[in-house]
Each structure stands twice: as structure tokens, then as C-alpha cells.
């Protein structure tokens, strides 16, 4: 016993040390992971407040030594209505000649992106929820074929659709309008939204549908009062998917938009790398603004995110 006592105490101490080491290792690993994940974001924000000269310092200045808001000032400057020889360089408050002349187009482009993305989200929900409900809960001839036909449209690469879409949009007289983007983005996103929701609805018991019908609900009421409340994670997934797909889309926006009236954020940001003089710090400032809406949406729906993103992945 007397021999076992110190041995037990030693074992306890060793166990405690082992536990503390594990916790410390976990902390260190977690900190490294968090640093790895957040470093690009921190650099994005930090460099947006640096001058073009400071951003290339070696070693890099993670905290700006001479912080400046000149990049943001150029973005928030009022767009010029008429550009003349005299006013042609007014967008560049630093007079360094490196802030792109299209800087003031960024905020209108953000507004265009928001209008398009929100419209696509709303129309996606209006189209995809009833379609998915019908496909999941109503037995009709050609149901499986319909699902496969919808999914097949997603197999076609976007590049192959560009010219047919272009001719379609041109013949409708919608070139250089936001409507052209909303229509084509819907064509691209709705099939996937229907797929996500159909799988989710199929996982919900048919008895719910029957019970609601027995209680006198119409199909629409059953959908709105029974299935939609139970499907919030999947609906959030659709919202996120449709919003982000529209927010980030580049190829179709490149083809269908021509002026700042309809150009969206990815086009305007890409144009910043086209000029004779290119500012990394300015592009990073644009990047900071560009990530705000998606981050806000992610925070807003954070509680549904994990379950929503796996919705439809496995049939229930």
C-alpha cells in the first residue's frame, strides 16, 4: 500500500501532465489553424489601409505604419457625371496616378450585385420550393424523368451556354441590363435548388402531408404551413447557394454587361487589374467591401449553416 501510494501519486501526476500537454497541444494546433485561416483576411484588411509603397515592404507590415484611407476615399468619392480633360484624374486623391479610374464604379456595382443576388434568391425560392414539393410528394407520370431532366441541365458547362444565352438576351433587347443577369442566373441556379429541396422534402414523412390534407389543407397550405417551417436548413442552403452563385458569377456578367449601369462587382474588380497602373492596396480595399455582404449573410443564417449545407446530401 505504501509502495502503491507514491506510485499512484506519480501516475496521477503523470496523467495530469499528459492531460495538460494534450490541452496545450490542442490550443497550439487550434491557434495555428485559426492563424492559417484568418491570416489572408487580416492581411486583406490591413493592406487596404496601406499605401502602395508600404504594401510591398519586406517584411510585410501586418499593422500599417502609416495607415491611410485613400483607397476607401476613392471608392466613396462621388462618381463624376462628365469626365473632361481637366477632371480626368480627380478620382485619385493621392495624385499618385495608381488608383484606377473606375474606382467610383465600385459602389454602384455592389448595388447591382445586391439587386441581382437578392432577386435571384427570391425567385429561386418562389420557383424551387413548389417544384421540389411537387417532385417529392406528388406521384405523377414522368416524375423521375423530370428530376433527371432538371439535373441534366447542370451538366452543360457554362461556357457552352454563353453564346445561346447571348443571342437570347440580345433578341429580348436586354443586353446591358440587370434583367439579363437575373434571367440567366435563374436558369443556372434553379435546377440545383430544386435538387437540394427535393431530397430534403423526400426525407420528411409522407404522413405529414396526408395528415395536413385530411385536416383540410390545400396543397399550397400544406407546403407553406408544414413543409416550409420544417425545411429551414435546406431553404437556408438554397439562399446561400443562390446568393453566392449570383454574387460571384463572372462569365455571364462579362458577356451581358457593358457599362457601369449593369456591371456587377466581379467585373468591376477585374477591371482594376486591367489598367496601366495597378494598385494591390486598392484592390484589397475593394475586396474588403466585396466580402461584407456574404459575411453578413453567413452570420445571419449561422445557426442553420451546418445542417443546411448537408441538406439533400443523404436521403432520409
Amino acid at each position: 500500500m505504501s509502495a502503491a501510494g507514491p506510485a499512484g501519486a506519480t501516475g496521477h501526476v503523470a496523467g495530469e501532465r499528459h492531460r495538460r500537454l494534450r490541452i496545450a497541444a490542442l490550443w497550439i494546433a487550434s491557434l495555428i489553424f485559426v492563424g492559417y485561416v484568418t491570416a489572408p483576411l487580416v492581411w486583406l484588411v490591413s493592406s487596404s489601409f496601406q499605401s502602395e509603397r508600404e504594401i510591398t515592404s519586406k517584411p510585410p507590415h501586418w499593422i500599417p505604419h502609416e495607415p491611410t484611407v485613400q483607397n476607401f476615399a476613392a471608392i466613396f468619392a462621388a462618381p463624376k457625371k462628365d469626365v473632361t480633360y481637366e477632371t480626368r484624374r480627380a478620382a485619385d486623391p493621392a495624385s499618385g496616378g495608381f488608383i484606377p479610374s473606375t474606382a467610383a464604379n465600385l459602389l454602384p456595382a455592389m448595388a447591382n450585385s445586391l439587386i441581382v443576388a437578392i432577386s435571384v434568391v427570391i425567385l429561386n425560392l418562389l420557383v424551387a420550393i413548389p417544384a421540389a414539393y411537387a417532385l417529392a410528394k406528388i406521384r405523377f407520370r414522368g416524375r423521375d424523368a423530370s428530376i433527371y431532366a432538371i439535373l441534366t441541365t447542370r451538366v452543360i458547362p457554362d461556357i457552352a451556354l454563353v453564346v445561346p444565352f447571348f443571342l437570347f438576351i440580345r433578341n429580348l433587347g436586354l443586353l446591358d441590363t440587370l434583367a439579363s443577369l437575373i434571367i440567366t442566373y435563374l436558369a443556372v441556379t434553379v435546377p440545383f435548388s430544386v435538387f437540394i429541396l427535393t431530397n430534403y422534402f423526400e426525407g420528411l414523412p409522407d404522413e405529414l402531408d396526408k395528415a395536413a390534407r385530411v385536416d383540410g389543407c390545400s396543397r399550397l397550405q400544406t407546403l407553406l404551413h408544414v413543409y416550409v417551417p420544417l425545411s429551414l436548413p435546406a431553404i437556408v442552403a438554397v439562399i446561400l447557394f443562390a446568393f453566392l452563385a449570383s454574387w460571384n458569377e463572372f462569365l455571364l456578367a462579362l458577356m451581358f454587361t457593358q457599362t457601369p449601369n449593369s456591371q456587377t462587382l466581379p467585373i468591376i474588380v477585374a477591371s482594376f487589374t486591367s489598367d496601366f497602373t495597378i494598385s494591390f492596396s486598392f484592390i484589397n480595399a475593394a475586396g474588403v467591401l466585396a466580402i461584407i455582404p456574404p459575411v453578413l449573410i453567413a452570420l445571419l443564417f449561422e445557426r442553420y449553416l451546418v445542417s443546411g449545407l448537408t441538406a439533400g446530401a443523404v436521403k432520409g
Partner: protein, 439 residues
């Protein structure tokens, strides 16, 4: 058709053909008779807008101006051409001329003496770059060349009095600079697979007295006596043997290279000449006032100071050319930008003074205003001499894009030590001849 030959261009054209039948009945120009449609990439936008405002005021003509990012501009324009979108005047890269002209997307301008009259005051390289199958397709927008830039401050610290005149001297000086701890990789090369890559390669090949193709357009790059093999071998040695060029050069794009040079990390660099203005701007560069230009070093016994040049021009579409009134308006617009406006090369001078873009107008080199502007950040005598030695890329062909992918990958593999310079260029030459045969 092999998978590799299924290019983006082919996909676009096929898709257009499929869609054309459905769309044909309505395929009329929605804006026929309306304002001139002027398409550019997103560069010098405010300079263009200001000059357009003056044009509209001076002529009473209306212009619809649109722009899109450079990196995707070619694809965007091809889509618009096959989709018959309204475009009258556009910026065109010399690299796309054969493709655009052969496809019927550009109209020759030989019949417009107002435009061709400027050839006499335009450097031969620029005029030559606008010619295809004996016809001229535009008027100069801007032109520039790949420059050999050095960091004067770093050379002085290393005790080097004058910049190198040969690539062998570049190696020796780089070794000295490296030994003194002034730079880990004194020579900057940006060899990432991007649109600039062919310009970097061509500058090296030309200065080694080499060519990619012969006078008949057949592959010449693989010749053991030609400069292309020697140029690629120089890079391989610089990376692997002398360690004066970073092995990461195959992932370094032109822009990243520029920023690294501006941060003072290199002594020498192949950099587009118009970047001199940026490198000597204290607001953007840590070596402001220290970036200097020298003639391209010579490589090997056949070496010359030649470099590669490029130019962009204003082109007219067949849509504009088909209608005499519209064509006349398009010519006025092209002259206003590419030639003289109110008796002066207003736009060329504005571009140079605002953003440093080079000009292909010979008389502007004698303009006191331009000489004074150049003197602020560059040696105009060297620039003028190097301009005269600039040569157009000898690989401009409709199949350039497809060949360039294979050629770039081969060079990168050789730089990485996976294949020899000879193997890389044989591979590149085989692809060139195969594509040439296919037409």
C-alpha cells in the same frame, strides 16, 4: 478532333452555330443607325472618357463607350462578334489580328487615306503589326516593348559602375550582388503561364539572336544553332546552376514581379518599359528614382540588343464599314484617338503623361514636352534606341493561343529541370507545325 484541340474558341463557335438557327429570325442590329459603339478593355478609362467628351463636342457625333477587363476581353469580343452585337470601333491586340481578320470580324482600313496617312509618322514595327495578308487593319492605340530594367542603387552598393551589356555579364554581376548579400535572386524573371509569358520569352530569344519561326512561318525554335535553345538554356542555368533567378519564377506573374522589383528585391529585371513610371513613383515604389533602363543584353555569339515589342490598335468592324456614313464617323473617331485631334496627338500625349504608355509616333520623340516628361523617370536616348530595335512577335497566328499553352508548359518544365531545353523546344516546334498544318 483531339480533346486538346477542343479550344475555347471552338466551343464558342460551335455553340453559336447551334444557337444561330433559333435566333436568326430576330438577328438584326437593334441599334442600326444609332450612336457609334466603341469597345475597349478597362484601361485609361477616364482618359478615354475625357477625350470622347471632346470628340462628341467637336463633331456632334454620339458614341456608346463600353469596356471590359483585359484578361477576358478577347473572349468577350468573340462572343459579341458571333452574337452580332453592335460594335463599330474597338481596341485590338496585335496578337489577335490574324484570328479576327480571317474570321471577318475586322474590316481593312486601306481605303481610308485619313488613317493610312499616319503611317509615315508611325514606327515601322507598329505599321507592320497592323498588317495582315497585305492589308492594314487599324491605327495605333499604343505600343511598347520589353525593357531591361536595373536597380541603380543596388549596382552601386555592389561596386558595379555600369549595367550589363550581355547576358553573361548579367550572370557575373548577379553572382557579385548575391555574394554581397544584397539580393537572394538578383535577376527577376516572371515566367508564370499568363498572357505576358510570350513577351518575356521572345525578348530573351531575340536578344540571343533567335526566332520562334522562319520567314515561311515554320517552326525554327528547335534549331540547335538558333537563339531559342540558347535563351532557354540561359534561364535553366540561371535558376539551377547559378541560382540568380528564383525557382519560383514559373509561378511569378508580371504584376507580382513588378511589385517585387519595386520593393527592391532584385537588381535586374525584364519588365514592360511603361512600368518605369510606376517604379520611379515614390508613392508606389521603394526604389523610386533608382530604376533605370538599359539596352537588352546580348546573348551568345549571335546576340543583339533586340527586344520584343507589342502594340494595340483601333480597329473597325465590317458592320461600320458596310455603311458609308457610319464608316466615316468611325474613321473620325479612330483618327481622333489614334491620330491627331485638333492638330495634335492629344490622346497619345495624354496616355504617356498620365500612365506612361508608349507611343508609336516618331515625331513625338522630338516633342519637348514629351522629352521633358520622359526625363523625369527614364533615359529617352536608351528608350528611343530600344524602340528602334523592337520586333513584333513571330508567332502571331490564329492558332497562337493553343500553341502558347503547350510552349509555355514546355518552357516551365525545362526551367524546373524535368526536361532539357532541346526537348522543350522540340515539343513546342512539333505543336506549332501540327497547328500550322491544320490551319
Amino acid at each position: 478532333m483531339s480533346a486538346s484541340s477542343l479550344s475555347r474558341r471552338a466551343v464558342l463557335k460551335s455553340a453559336a452555330a447551334l444557337a444561330a438557327s433559333a435566333a436568326a429570325p430576330g438577328a438584326v442590329f437593334a441599334q442600326s443607325g444609332g450612336p457609334l459603339a466603341f469597345a475597349t478593355w478597362s484601361a485609361a478609362v477616364d482618359q478615354v472618357k475625357s477625350h470622347l467628351a471632346a470628340f462628341e463636342k467637336a463633331t456632334g457625333l454620339k458614341v456608346d463607350y463600353s469596356n471590359s477587363p483585359w484578361a477576358q476581353y478577347r473572349e468577350a469580343m468573340i462572343t459579341k462578334f458571333v452574337g452580332k452585337a453592335p460594335v463599330d470601333v474597338l481596341w485590338v491586340s496585335d496578337s489577335w489580328l490574324p484570328e479576327f481578320a480571317d474570321a471577318g470580324w475586322l474590316a481593312p482600313v486601306d481605303g481610308y487615306k485619313t488613317l493610312t496617312a499616319y503611317n509615315a509618322d508611325t514606327d515601322a514595327f507598329s505599321v507592320d503589326s497592323m498588317m495582315h495578308k497585305g492589308k492594314q487593319y487599324g491605327i495605333t492605340y499604343y505600343t511598347d516593348f520589353m525593357g531591361f530594367i536595373y536597380n541603380e542603387d543596388m549596382l552601386q552598393k555592389a561596386g558595379i559602375a555600369a549595367p550589363p551589356t550581355t547576358w553573361a555579364e548579367v550572370v557575373e554581376m548577379s553572382k557579385t550582388i548575391k555574394a554581397k548579400g544584397l539580393s537572394e535572386y538578383p535577376m527577376l524573371l516572371s515566367m508564370a503561364q499568363e498572357s505576358w509569358l510570350i513577351e518575356f520569352m521572345a525578348a530573351l530569344v531575340y536578344s540571343h539572336g533567335g526566332r520562334f519561326t522562319d520567314d515561311k512561318g515554320a517552326a525554327a525554335m528547335q534549331s540547335a544553332e538558333g537563339g531559342a535553345v540558347a535563351a532557354l538554356q540561359w534561364i535553366i542555368d540561371a535558376v539551377q546552376k547559378h541560382k540568380i533567378v528564383s525557382p519560383a519564377c514559373v509561378e511569378t506573374g508580371e504584376l507580382a514581379g513588378l511589385k517585387a522589383f519595386g520593393a527592391g528585391q532584385h537588381a535586374f529585371g525584364l519588365i514592360p518599359k511603361y512600368r518605369l513610371r510606376t517604379l520611379n513613383d515614390p508613392a508606389q515604389s521603394q526604389i523610386a528614382g533608382k530604376a533605370q533602363i538599359a539596352l537588352m543584353p546580348k546573348g551568345g555569339p549571335k546576340g543583339t540588343h533586340a527586344t520584343v515589342g507589342w502594340m494595340r490598335f483601333y480597329g473597325m468592324t465590317p458592320r461600320a464599314a458596310a455603311d458609308p456614313a457610319r464608316a466615316e464617323a468611325a474613321v473620325k473617331l479612330m483618327e481622333w484617338f489614334g491620330g491627331k485631334a485638333n492638330g495634335e496627338y492629344t490622346f497619345q500625349k495624354m496616355l504617356f503623361k498620365d500612365v506612361g504608355a508608349g507611343f508609336g509616333v516618331k515625331s513625338l520623340f522630338q516633342d519637348p514636352e514629351m522629352r521633358a516628361a520622359y526625363a523625369k523617370y527614364g533615359d529617352i536616348k536608351v528608350i528611343e534606341a530600344q524602340t528602334a530595335l523592337a520586333k513584333k512577335k513571330d508567332v502571331i497566328a490564329p492558332w497562337f493561343g493553343e500553341w502558347n499553352d503547350v510552349n509555355g508548359a514546355a518552357w516551365q518544365q525545362a526551367i524546373g529541370g524535368k526536361i532539357t531545353a532541346e526537348e522543350a523546344l522540340k515539343r513546342s516546334a512539333a505543336k506549332w507545325d501540327q497547328l500550322k498544318k491544320q490551319g
